[in-house]
Amino acid sequence: MVSQRTGLLKYGFVGPALVVLIVLNIFPLLYNVVLSFTDAELVGGGARYVGGSNYSRVFSTAEFVEAIRTTAVFVAAAVSIELCLGFCLALALQRGFRGKSAILTVLLIPMMLSPAVMALFWHQILSGDYGILNHILAAVGLGQPEWLTAPGLKLISILMIDVWMWTPFMMLIALAGLNSIPQYIYEAAEIDRAGAWRIFRRITLPMCAPLLALAVLLRTTDALKQFDLVMAVTGPNDAATQTLSALLFQKVFGDGKTGLGSAYACVLLVIVIALASVFTRYIDFIQRKQGKTQQ
């Protein structure tokens, strides 16, 4: 074997990246935990230790409960709509036809674009007075909803933009799932005269499920962090759309309460770590499964 006698060289390869990650990601995390027990403020130094009082404030305010609710509604709605739409699209696009790859590529573009820039432009589409969406609704005789200002509609507007951006992501992974089902299974089912619905229920869906689950996990952890769209559509301090990230931002940069903001960050972090550990375990599972089929 050649990989002996390499001594310290291997650490020279892996070390720098790990150092960068530890300095810029892990150290700030720990620092954040320390800050969350102080009354640090954005301007002026001299933070004092205040015990768990930031945390008791976090859990006793209505804002926090409200933000958890908003975030949960947003994540659940966004992920489920994107999953259903994306899977339907993947089913529709599964069979080959002329121009398929061009159509696929165009469909994938929204998810690569800057959420902040595109969400700002979406004001042109959603505006109650001059937005193209309301022009279209007027043309077919429907109402003129105030998408960006009516309290009940703001979150739906953000949801719309998120669905526009991220449905292609679900579609992409769902298509990979569909393509991984061997043709002979369908042929065997046809010989057994299984109906279309039965084939879908018993073959297509279960065989796609592992990849769909991966897509759902990835999207969930991403949607939980949603911040850019909220900022662009309503700003961080709007009761109707204040997600956890927006609330945290408002506490730190709006109110200047750094210590309190850090406590929010820790709470958010616990939620994300719980989800991420499910996620990394799942990736491990998929990789081992892929390894098996490749051999």
Partner: protein, 291 residues
């Protein structure tokens, strides 16, 4: 069945493309046509005069005015769009380069050497991707204030490098795992040192993978908004932050310029998307699914 399939594709495609088409149309308008109470979607070359003064025409005067005015400084900002575009490109390119460089070396180490706890380290690296950026914004903000990295390009480059490392390491590990070990073994037998083998054998063979990874890192750095905004009020302001700042413009958002600028900003991203389309699946799943 066939009809339903086509219906799904056609309907979704038109809805999904509409915002992009509208972006392009808006960029050729004059400002008053972007806030008109009637939808204006048919461009005409000549100037339109409405006979009775009411404005119900769906025609608008096509103009490249917005593109020409990208070089002008908008009310409320210090520089023109191109200044911010240059910031974005410099920060994006340098952070992508360093993320790919560090990531390739790290991936090579994990791919070819026996490292204690390698799997745990790899999952540690992956887990940093799931950190909500806002959970570290406060300490990073304070660290940067301490080291005078606020409002600097270097500050954002460092930060984006670290955010992209997880993706870079995982993608590159996938690409390097695919290169047969025999290539390097032969080189080592021929008297190459480990570093030479890495440089002369692995890097050329992994070049496509490195380019693909760089594109993903570049795009995510170009698109980042939260930190760019929180850490900058001047100098290293990037395009997303600049656009977000126009929202509070007292004379109203200059929509044609926003659209023109957004188009200039996103067209390269769209082109890159087309270039890496075969690797998109790999990119968005951290190399978990190879196709």
């Amino acid at each position: 069945m066939k009809i339903i399939r086509w219906l799904v594709i056609v309907v979704y495609f038109s809805v999904a493309v509409m915002p992009l088409a509208w972006l392009a149309i808006t960029s050729f308008k004059l400002k008053e046509d972007t806030i008109s109470p009637t939808a204006k979607f048919i461009p005409v070359a000549s100037k339109i005069e409405s006979p009775d003064g009411s404005d119900t025409s769906v025609l608008f005067t096509a103009s490249t005015d917005a593109y020409r005015r990208l070089g002008a400084v908008n009310i409320g900002s210090d520089y023109s769009f191109f200044h911010y575009l240059a910031n974005s490109l410099i920060i994006g390119a340098l952070s992508a380069l360093s993320a790919v460089g560090l990531g390739t070396a790290c991936a090579y180490g994990f791919s070819r050497f026996r490292i204690a706890g390698a799997k745990d380290w790899l999952f540690f690296i992956l887990s940093t991707r799931f950190l909500p950026p806002l959970a570290v914004v406060v300490p990073v903000f304070m660290m940067y204030r301490q080291f005078n990295l606020q409002n600097t390009h270097v500050g954002l480059i460092l930060l984006y490098t670290s955010f992209n490392l997880s993706l870079s390491v995982w993608l590159m590990k996938g690409f390097i795992d695919d290169i047969p070990r025999a290539y390097e073994d032969a080189a080592l037998v021929d008297g190459y040192s480990r570093l030479q083998a890495f440089w002369r054998i692995i890097v050329p063979h992994a070049a496509t993978g490195m380019a693909v990874t760089a594109v993903f890192c570049l795009i995510s750095a170009l698109n980042e908004y939260g930190f760019a905004m929180a850490l900058n009020s001047s100098r290293a302001v990037t395009v997303p932050v600049y656009f977000a700042g126009l929202q509070g413009n007292i004379s109203g958002v200059p929509w044609p310029q926003v659209a023109a600028g957004a188009l200039v900003f996103v067209v390269p991203v769209a082109v890159f998307t087309v270039l890496v389309r075969k690797h998109l699946l790999r990119g968005v799943t951290f190399g978990t699914i190879k196709q």
